[in-house]
């Protein structure tokens, strides 16, 4: 089928012209109606948060930067490097390379541990599937959302970064807030 420009022209249907007085109301009346809300709120004072000095608190279930966990008693890593999180991840941003524990080098509780555990935060969509897939609750989504960085490669989080003590930069919303 050949393309004829006339077929793609859309005719705009305009409403009826309101005329002189109606026109004036449309120009000013509606504006004033909007401004009523503005001035009404003015008395409440500013609500802008002075980010980064001040931060938006998040709900406890907010899905932010991941964390890997250790057992509190033994200090061993909970992650056994099973790669199930990597299988579940829709963005394919987790890379796990497992290795075998030895008595001299016991990293996790099972036979197997994650020698490499990387999450590419530039690709993560924070869906939380990894957390759900993990059979050992080894990975959870934290609350931190401040993930900007200067280079992409810095956004590949390694196991050490994920295991490190949680960053407590993000305030949680208080009950009822």
């Amino acid at each position: 089928m050949t393309w004829s420009p006339s077929r793609d022209v859309i005719e705009v249907q305009r409403g009826p012209d309101p005329g002189g007085l109606g026109g004036a109301y449309r120009a000013f009346g509606e504006t004033l109606r909007g401004l009523k809300t503005t001035f009404g709120r003015l008395v409440e004072g500013p609500v802008t948060l002075q980010y980064p000095e001040e931060k938006t608190p998040v709900y406890p279930r907010f899905r932010g930067r991941h964390r890997l966990h250790r057992f509190e008693d033994t200090g061993l890593e909970k992650c056994v490097g099973c790669s199930l999180c990597a299988a579940a991840c829709p963005a394919e941003c987790i890379r796990v390379v497992a290795a075998e524990n030895t008595p001299e080098h016991q990293v996790s509780a099972g036979e197997r541990y994650a020698a490499v555990y990387e999450i590419n935060m530039t690709r993560c969509i924070f869906c939380g599937y990894c957390e759900m897939a993990c059979p050992f609750d080894a990975i959870t989504m934290g609350n931190d959302y401040e993930l900007a960085d200067y280079t992409r490669s810095d956004l590949i989080f390694t196991k050490e970064m994920l295991l490190a003590d949680p960053v407590e930069r993000t305030p949680l919303r208080r009950e009822g807030e």
Binding site: V80, G81, C82, S83, L84, A86, A87, R95, V96, V97, A98, A99, E100, G110, E111, R112, P135, F136
Partner: protein, 848 residues
């Protein structure tokens, strides 16, 4: 080969009419109707079903109890139900039962994601267990061998590994120990399970109980990709699948079942040898000798030097092509030599040249058997070959033919063979006396005993009677030949008896043609072929096992001093590898070693040492700094591993198979075909360029009987050229009908026999997991000789010829015939080739 024509039966499964081959087990027959019946222990590769796991229970109308579908053959009109409540509850119960002692620790288990137990529990299990008692515990994981780890808690006692060891590899090492719920898998004597095929059990185990130490925890199925190619570490050329991950390394090698080639098994060299691809010692940069030292240089510099060296030598250059080279590479090397440098000297065999007439006769399609023909052979003769060392997968195939299909086996070797216990007849002869032995066997077959079924019973019988009346029971000369072969006449007679039949298949080692009298040996082999009437019928034939993995292909594309591509005649015959040492440094100046290491693999080591020292220029394509390279190479170009190659190879039975690149080459390694093309271009002044597919096309065109074969036709399963129309283009060669020459008198004294070992190889040296298998030189002696020489088992001895000695550990074997001593070829140290020179040798053995 004709197999009995298949009949089909119709039966009903889950209310559907299905047609399936007669005699098929219900499990397989159900697949024709798209019904899946879960199985654990059923594995057709392992032979008869055992019905051990009960996972496959189905209801069959007219039978009061549920039946195992894996061991019930389908019958016409059978009515089978797989979905009834009765079957469902049985399946649930079996899964629950199997999981009673199973830890279900899938996240740490290496099988997770590719585990039949996971799949079946999910698909057919009830999803719950009533078992709350403690499960059984074992120490885990432990080494079943350095290559295989075993986790006994996960074992579901399906028998597969044990059956493999007992019925396929026939090493009888794995057994079930204890009884009842104490049963566990182990070796009968508690020693590690080490054998040439042990790795296969990791692929067979349906759970994570047996895992290979080299792959454990390296990746999950969703992390990997599998690339199909062909293993070129030995002439069996098994079809393999290489598992790779994101780091561009091969992580494991798995079998890619091809019943025409490997039956789905791999040897451990093939399975674990992949580690050599990523060895830190691998050469990944061109090297040039500079003030006596090999130093890394740029490709430009190395190529300049290579071109200069070859150009200077011109027609005074020679090339040796190693067995791992593809047809394309071999073709290019011989093209470089013959058409560009004008030198006729190119060889790929470590021995003397094969007469062209003989090569043509041996290649005749009617004389050549396919691997699958072994299954329907009337008898199999293995001659001069220790298959487990030379082509391990054929060893399994021969065992299968004997055990499962009842094919009688005749073993004729000088060294005691591991196939002896399976053989209907064994013939022992003196090392190096193949010619006499073959002649004697041929004479025995065409002379005495029963007449050959195809040679007119009546005529033969009357001849026989006449002979008897004349008082000559057997044609004279037989016993003389037997004496020259050092073989016993009764043994020859039983062997001949076993071989009379419609379709015998002869597996012979090309090693018997490598000696000085190699061509006489081939003549005798062809006489044997005639005596067996291999050339007249539809069945039977021969399979020659070359020394190199692609020995057959290399010969057919022209890497022979007296034959061009397609076994064609050449204007000028070159020097075979055996004559090169004498010529190097005199009439030959430059040597091109294409993945060849003559100091390790060629006989007459001292001559080669002198020769490579005298050579003016040595250019080597090599993946490691082997001795030849270290000692003599002036320019070294890094070689590719087979996982990095594109091209074709030819199986000993004539099957062309395709290599496909599975991983990228390490930085600094270039495709060898590309490098060869560059050498051709620069030396000839004409630009040659061809991408791999085009190069294959070129080769297929250059070899008349490959013509018309394309990569597409070869495909993933390969194609025997004998089965294509092009086979008719093989120049006709009659079977010689000459009187066989008289074999020479055997030398007096202790005779030396040498043979390759599966583990005396580069792979063993450089693959970390295999290193423990590297053999030490061992002198196998008969107890009589040992007593005479005052040698006790385990003694350090020196085996010497004319003052040259090789140190070895003495091993006494009762089945070694007195008067012979055997050494291993190709060991890293104390290589037996220091003593060999292609002729029969007598040695002295003394305590060191």
């Amino acid at each position: 080969m004709t197999s009995p024509s298949q009949r089909f039966v119709t039966f009903e499964i889950d209310g559907r009419e299905v047609t399936a081959p007669e005699g098929a087990m219900l499990v397989d027959a159900a697949k024709y109707g798209d019904v899946e019946i879960p199985v654990f222990c059923y594995e057709p590769k392992l032979g008869q079903p055992v019905g051990a796991c009960r996972m496959c229970l189905v209801e069959i109308e007219g039978m009061p109890k549920l039946q195992t579908a894996c061991s019930t053959a389908v019958k016409d009109g059978m009515v089978v139900v797989t979905t009834s409540d009765k079957v469902k509850s049985a399946q649930n119960a079996v899964v629950e039962f199997l999981l009673v002692n199973h830890p279900l620790d899938c996240p740490v288990c290496d099988k997770g994601g590719e585990c039949p137990l996971q799949d079946i529990s999910f698909g057919w299990g009830a999803g719950r267990s009533r078992f709350i008692e403690p499960k059984r515990h074992f120490r885990k994981p432990i080494e079943l061998s350095p290559l295989v780890a075993i986790d006994r808690e996960r074992c579901i006692l399906c028998y597969r590994c044990v059956r493999f060891s007992q019925e396929i590899a026939e090493d009888y090492q794995l057994v079930f120990l204890e009884r009842g719920d104490h049963t566990y898998v182990g070796t009968h004597d508690g020693h590690p399970y080490v054998g040439p095929f042990s790795g296969n059990i990791t692929e067979l185990c349906p759970v994570g109980a047996l895992t290979s130490t080299t792959y454990r925890f390296r990746a999950r199925p969703w992390d990997i990709e599998n690339a199909g190619t062909v293993c070129t570490l030995c002439p069996s050329q098994c079809n393999v699948e290489l598992t790779t991950r994101d780091d561009n390394r091969v992580l494991r090698v798995m079998a890619r079942d091809n019943t025409d080639v490997d039956d789905g098994w791999l040897c451990d060299k093939g399975r674990y040898g992949f580690q050599l691809f990523h060895s830190p010692d691998r050469i990944t940069q061109p090297l040039v000798r500079d003030a006596g030292e090999l130093r890394p240089v740029s490709w430009e510099r190395a190529m300049d030097e290579a071109v200069r060296g070859l150009d200077r030598a011109g027609e005074r250059a020679a090339a040796l092509v190693g067995g791992g080279a593809t047809n394309e590479e071999g073709f290019l090397v011989q093209f470089l030599m013959r058409s560009v440098l004008g030198s006729p000297h190119v060889d790929s065999r470590p021995g003397a040249a094969l007469d062209r007439e003989h090569a043509l006769a041996l290649s005749r399609p009617d004389l050549s058997a396919a691997v699958a023909d072994l299954d329907s052979a009337s008898a199999v003769l293995v001659i001069g070959a220790e298959l487990v060392d030379e082509a391990p997968i054929l060893d399994l195939r021969v065992r299968k033919a004997g055990r499962r299909l009842g094919v009688p086996l005749v073993v004729a070797t000088s060294r005691p063979s591991s196939l002896d216990p399976n053989a209907a007849a064994v013939v022992r002869y003196a090392p190096g006396a193949e010619e006499a032995l073959l002649g004697a066997l041929a004479a025995e077959l065409s002379g005495g005993g029963e007449s050959h079924p195809r040679q007119g019973r009546a005529g033969r019988a009357s001849l026989h009677e006449a002979a008897e009346q004349l008082g000559m029971r057997r044609p004279s000369g037989d016993s003389e030949r037997a004496r020259l072969a050092g073989a016993r006449e009764e043994e020859l007679r039983t062997a001949a008896e076993a071989l009379r039949g419609e379709r015998p298949v002869v597996i012979w080692s090309e090693r018997l043609t490598h000696g000085e009298r190699g061509n006489e040996a081939v003549a005798a082999l062809l006489a044997l072929a005639r005596a067996l009437a291999l050339n007249t019928g539809d069945g039977g034939g021969m399979i020659g096992i070359p020394r190199g993995a692609n020995g057959r292909g290399l010969r057919e594309v022209g890497c022979a001093p007296n034959m061009g591509p397609g076994l064609g005649a050449v204007d000028q015959e070159g020097l075979p590898a055996t004559a090169l040492p004498a010529a190097l440094g005199r009439s030959i100046e430059a040597l091109l070693l294409f993945q060849a290491d003559p100091l390790r693999t060629h006989p007459d080591r001292s001559a080669w040492e002198r020769a490579v020292d005298d050579a003016g220029f040595v250019l080597a394509f090599s993946d490691f700094r082997n001795e030849t390279v270290e000692r003599s190479a002036d320019v070294v170009l890094p070689a590719e591993a087979y996982a990095e190659k594109e091209g074709t190879v030819t199986h000993p039975d004539g099957r062309l198979q395709r290599l496909r690149q599975a991983v990228g080459r390490p930085d600094g390694v270039r495709a060898q075909t590309e490098v060869l093309l560059e050498l051709v271009s620069r030396l000839s002044g004409t630009r040659f360029e061809a991408p791999p597919a085009q190069l294959t096309h070129l080769v297929m065109d250059a070899v008349p009987f490959y013509r018309g074969l394309t990569l597409d036709r070869i495909g993933g399963r390969g194609l025997r050229w004998q089965e294509t129309d092009a086979a008719g283009r093989l120049p006709q060669a009659p079977l010689p009908d000459r009187e066989l020459a008289r074999p020479p008198e055997p030398p007096e004294g202790l005779r030396l026999g040498t043979g390759p070992s599966l583990w005396a190889s580069v792979e063993t040296d450089h693959a970390a997991s295999l290193r423990f298998l590297a053999p030490r030189q061992e002198a196998q002696l008969s107890p009589e000789d040992a007593e005479r020489l005052g040698v006790a088992p385990g003694d350090e001895v020196e085996v010497a010829v004319n003052g040259t000695g090789v140190r070895a550990r003495a091993a006494l074997r009762s089945n070694v015939p007195a008067g012979s001593v055997f050494l291993i070829e190709g060991t890293r140290e104390d290589n037996a080739n220091a003593l060999t020179d292609g002729g029969p040798r007598t040695v002295e053995v003394r305590k060191a």
